[in-house]
């Protein structure tokens, strides 16, 4: 599996990453190498195998009651925000 510059451009758009023209070539090379390396998985017979999403068999993730357990930390949390105003996160205008 070999990726082109156009492929990388598409992946970068999905991943919300701005990749420069010069770097498109670099990533096309290294991503192709990685995909060629993982390609060996396709030779394994897995028709009767269940996929494994959790490393502990039989341990389901717990659910908790849908009840309020935290107090409001907005002010504290927004101290890490790049830009806030009146308790709201500020982003560039979305709707003209």
């Amino acid at each position: 599996m070999s990726l082109t510059r156009q492929d990388v451009e598409g992946i970068a758009r999905l991943a919300r990453l701005k990749v420069s023209d010069a770097d498109l070539e670099v990533y096309a090379g290294s991503l192709s190498k990685i995909l060629a390396f993982v390609e060996q998985l396709s030779t394994v017979e897995t028709a009767a195998v269940e996929p494994m999403a959790h490393p502990l068999a039989g341990e389901a993730q717990r659910l908790r009651p849908d009840a309020v357990s935290e107090s409001n930390h907005r002010e504290l949390y927004q101290r890490n925000a790049p830009q806030v105003e009146a308790g709201l996160y500020v982003v560039p205008k979305v709707i003209e």
Partner: protein, 486 residues
């Protein structure tokens, strides 16, 4: 006995006997950090003021008769654990300005036990790397040879402990990030069973693989601290509700009768001679100690690296989507519009290895490729876990090397991601299967330390630590300190 070469047990006893105070101990290690860190680059942040205040509080609680075993013992935290009011960078420019608003459970549990943390250690960016070279804060140097890497991603913790800048440090392990650096700097490090230690407040990389653990010179040191970290946490939905054994008390479990499996697939091709020889010598020590040693085989295990490099990037691409330049972390200058804000904040905030993994993950999860890559990798993961399950019906512990060779020169593998990824070939399997595993020092290849890996069934930390302890009573590799740091 000098303070920085004392074990955790000796420090605990010294504090209890009043030979020194927690403040004196903290100062001793802060002085060493001040002296040696400029050359090692093991710390991103040194929290001297906070540490001295915490040490004074530890001394006060001891004076009031409320001290626990670990009250006043100093450590360092990997900069992946949130520490309230202190920068938590995860080795990334993305979080260079991030002041954690709360403590990770590992941090708060250790603080409740009276442990004093002296700073936050350097690491590969978002724990993605095997050499500590992807950190925004620059590479960490190996105390045994400053031209070489300390391994990664917990490279700062590894170098800090190896140079005795701290008696122990926390780490995290997604594909070997505790064990491989422990091996490369000649210390012990344990990655517990998935779910044994809470991941709340530990910045996520690959959630079905990530687990927190501890790095220190000896297995006994690890036993002291793992007990303070482990246990159920309702704030982590993958945390397992099981009692935590007294790891220190159980260190004395006799080795006789232990069945050890030597992993055939990991003792041949690709293993450097100097490492293989040390591992075989360590296996002989176990035989002498009364263990039964047999060969075991996990035929699908060589597929663990390609499996990991589908599963881990997939989970990383999802986990790292939260870094959007809006709510916290880095934001680019003068964004044109919202899309530009996302794309440039992420491109400028993440380094190249993190971006490569995000894109790999995005690709293997994308429409049309999901079944071929991600689903297939999850099925191979099942086969790898089955191999281990079968092996553990025959043996109690598996032994193999931790890494194919000793520490490599800085810059040697940065240009080829696949070569770098293959350094984790012996460690990744335990993460895929959720098994506990540890690395202990077992000698030298020339002037560079070599690590022996122990892998056990789920929740066998106690057995593993006692087996490592039995080896360390017969050998002195774990007390060797690089000459410049002695």
């Amino acid at each position: 006995m000098s303070l920085h070469t004392a074990s955790i047990g000796e420090l605990a006893r010294g504090l209890a006997a009043g030979q020194y105070s927690a403040v004196e101990l903290a100062r001793h290690f802060l002085d060493r950090i001040g002296r040696f860190n400029p050359a090692l680059n093991a710390f991103v942040t040194v929290t001297a003021d906070e540490a001295l205040a915490a040490a004074a509080a530890a001394d006060a609680s001891r004076a009031a008769g409320r001290a626990g075993v670990l009250t006043g013992v100093p450590i360092a935290h990997k900069d992946i654990f949130c520490t309230q009011g202190v920068k938590t960078s995860c080795g990334s420019r993305m979080l260079d300005n991030f002041i954690a608003p709360y403590d990770a459970t590992v941090v708060s549990r250790m603080a409740a036990a009276g442990v004093v943390y002296l700073g936050k250690t350097n690491m590969d960016e978002f724990a993605m790397g095997s050499s500590n070279e992807t950190s925004w804060y620059g590479p960490v140097r190996n105390p045994w040879d400053p031209s070489r890497v300390p391994g990664g991603s917990s490279g700062g913790s590894a170098a800090a402990v190896a140079g005795r800048l701290v008696p122990a440090a926390t780490g995290t392990d997604t594909g070997g990030s505790i064990r491989q650096p422990a091996a490369l700097v000649g210390i012990s490090g344990i990655k517990p069973t998935y779910g044994r230690v809470s991941r709340y407040g530990m910045i996520a990389f690959a959630s079905s693989l990530d687990q927190a653990g501890i790095m220190a010179p000896s297995a006994e040191d690890c036993a002291y601290l793992l007990g303070a970290m482990a246990g159920f946490d309702p704030r982590d939905s993958t945390s397992v509700d099981r009692p935590v054994p007294d790891y220190v008390a159980e260190l004395a479990t006799p080795l006789a009768g232990l069945r050890i499996g030597v992993l055939r697939e990991f003792m041949g091709e690709g293993l450097e001679a100097g490492t293989g020889d040390r591992v075989r010598e360590a296996i002989d020590v176990y035989r002498r100690l009364g263990a039964t040693v047999v060969d075991v085989s996990c035929p699908k295990l060589p597929l663990s690296v390609p499996t990991y490099y589908v599963v881990a990037p997939a989970e990383c691409s999802s986990n790292l989507s939260r870094f959007d330049g809006v709510r916290f972390g880095y934001r680019c200058e003068n964004p044109r519009d919202l899309l530009d804000l996302y794309q440039r904040s992420r491109a400028e905030g993440f380094g190249p290895e993190v971006q490569r993994r995000i894109m790999t993950g995005t690709y293997v999860l994308s429409a049309g490729y999901y079944d071929a890559y991600y689903l297939q990798a999850q099925k191979v993961r099942s086969l790898i876990a089955d191999d281990f399950r079968r092996a553990f019906t025959e043996v109690d512990l598996i032994l193999c090397p931790t890494a194919p060779g000793p520490a490599f020169p800085i810059g040697a593998k940065v240009d080829d991601p696949v070569t770098m990824y293959l350094n984790d070939i012996y460690t990744i399997g335990a993460n895929l299967a959720g098994l506990p595993a540890m690395s202990i020092p077992c000698g030298f290849d020339g002037a560079l330390p070599v690590g022996l890996q122990l892998i056990g069934p789920h929740f066998s930390e106690s057995r593993m630590l006692s087996a490592a302890h039995a080896y360390q009573r017969e050998t002195d590799w774990h007390v060797r300190v690089p000459a410049a740091y002695a």
